[in-house]
């Protein structure tokens, strides 16, 4: 498969509820084999976007394509979806409802049973498989929810806040399963408002605020293209002299340790020379902004 055929693409998607426009020309891509984090504050439009991808909501304008083809029910039937608002049938056993959901996605009875058994074992739920869902702990219910999204071996995964409410062990289990799927060539789009989680997990990043995409691309690219250039300097004596250096604005000064931003037209080498001229330099390095900082910058 070449790159074009394995991309989930949103193109100029608009959506309003009444007078309120919640998505404004939303465009981005989710590439095969990549974990794409979808980040935004509450009400930014994450859930609406995902619902439009799954066809649960219709877009007012724009289009969504998978492998270059506009989505229809047939194609969406091969997507895996975990909605933000969780839930399965409380009075059905885990195994039975995962099989049922597999069959609703077009699997044969036998195929759905086999896939369910494998999956439940994979996510550590095989022993509780025949218990009613309502008797399971919340963490295990969450695992069952993942099984429900994965049972039909989807071509595309769209997960709305998949890690919220999970204990660290469950996060690791599910992350492993998702990474496997991504490694097998499945595009994985997952939303989160926990930036530290996304930072750890995603390859690509899409940032949305007020219904518009503010940034999209690989995590490294976004980091390096952040407009501010920040450095950390550690010397032996007080670093207060940095205040008078041209193009430098101090962010943090703690005796011999300083964090500063450089103006766009200033080179960092003269600053290093100035520091060396004053004595030994113990550390001098660029500070890559955290996702939280990037997020704050692109959404302000």
């Amino acid at each position: 498969m070449d790159a074009v055929t394995t991309v989930l693409r949103l193109d100029g998607v608009d959506r309003s509820f009444g007078d309120r426009q919640v998505l404004k020309s939303v465009s981005f891509e989710v590439a095969a084999g990549r974990m794409t984090g979808f980040v935004g504050g509450n009400g930014a439009g994450k859930t609406t976007t995902m619902r439009i991808i799954l066809g649960v909501l219709a877009a007012d304008a724009g289009r969504v394509t998978w492998g270059g083809r506009p989505l229809d029910r047939q194609i969406r039937g091969r997507f895996g979806y975990m909605p933000e608002e969780r839930g399965l049938y409380p009075k059905m056993s885990v195994r039975e409802q995962v099989v049922y959901l597999g069959r609703l996605h077009g699997m044969t009875a036998e195929g759905a049973r086999r896939a369910t058994d494998t999956l439940l074992e994979r996510i550590g739920l095989d022993e509780r498989g025949d218990d009613l869902l309502e008797t399971l702990s919340l963490g295990n219910q969450q695992r069952a929810q993942i099984a429900a999204a994965l049972v039909h071996d989807p071509e595309v995964l769209v997960l709305d806040e998949p890690f919220s409410g999970l204990d660290p062990m469950a996060v690791d289990t599910i992350l492993t399963v998702l990474r496997e799927r991504a490694a097998a060539g499945v595009p994985v789009l997952f939303s989160s408002h926990q930036l530290d989680v996304v930072e750890r997990l995603c390859d690509d990043l899409v940032i949305i605020a007020d219904g518009t995409i503010r940034a999209a691309g690989s995590r490294e690219l976004l980091r390096s293209s952040a407009t501010t250039r920040r450095f950390e300097l550690v010397v032996d004596t007080d670093a207060g002299w940095l205040r008078d250096q041209a193009g430098v604005s101090l962010v943090d000064l703690d005796g011999p340790r300083a964090v500063f931003d450089l103006a766009a037209d200033t080179d960092e080498q003269p600053v290093l020379h100035a520091a060396l001229a004053r004595g030994p330099v113990r550390a001098f390095r660029p500070v890559t902004p955290s996702l939280a900082e990037i997020f704050r910058e692109v959404t302000k």
């Binding site: 439009i52 219709a58 979806y81 909605p83 399965l88 059905m92 049922y100 609703l104």
Partner: protein, 353 residues
Amino acid sequence: MNTFEATRLVAAREIRVKLRDRTFLISTLFFLLIAAAATILPPLLAGGPSTVAVTEAAAGPLREAGLEVRVVADDAAAEQAVRDGDADAAVVAGPAVLAMNDAPTDVVSALSSAPPVRLLNPDAVDPVVAFLVPFAFAFIFFITSQTFGMQIAQSIIEEKQTRIVEILVAAVPVRALLAGKMLAGTLLALGQIGLIAAVALAGMAFGDSNQLLSLLGPAIGWFVPFFLLGFVLIASMWAAAGALVNRLEDISGVSMPVQLAVMLPFFAVIFLNDNAGAMQVLSYLPFSSPTAMPLRLFNGDAAVWELFASLALLLVAAAGFVLAGSRVYEGSLLRTNGRTSIRTAWRERETLG
């Protein structure tokens, strides 16, 4: 996944879950017991022919009349048999009939010569039966459309309340979800009624009510299509009502109109069943025709073309309600914040993908 296949899967799940529901199983069993008791017990309690204590000399005519004859030595022994409860009556010299406190009509008529009777309307229905049968029809329709309609609503609310509905809607057409639930409800309702009918028929055969059976036959035959369409009509209202709320606790708030739509026709048919004019009107109104029309047939008041006309009206009404119900269902299914108004649900549908 096409709509047909999805509908089948959804219906299969609904039925499977229901057949494991203890409340459902117990209530079905309870209905079966009632049906068996109502058909078997009355003939048994009626007790068959009287037992007569009589001397061998006078036994002949009584035997011919099919009475149970208990031969005794003399009149004194015959009287004693009645006093001891060994016989219902005794025939002693005179001839005189002895009984404890209730004149035994069958014994009396066996000994008398009755004038010939010509029945002018031999098929006319016994007034007791004429009341009980309509009541039974109306009751069955009332109870089943209520229980199974309510179950459709509950199943819809459960899917909304647990939020699984969003996964379902992403996987299968919304229409298939609704159709599957309606299909399952209809099959379960028909299955339950079929069981009850089978038990009732077996009970009648057992209790020797074959004559009633032949009278009831056509009415029951017509009751089935009327019941089916009437049930679909009511079920689509329950589906819409269920889709409007998000929690099982809130269902009473929206179910009142549906309850009235079932209850008012029920009482109308019960209370007006001997008022020919009213029944004629009721037998055409879609909400009451499922019970009123088979009744008029049972009482011999309805022509065949009337049955077809009423059935056609009911079909149109049911189709209309299914369309309206599914539109409300589609429009409110994903609105999980509080109660949705019918008007919002109606408009919202256009935005579903």
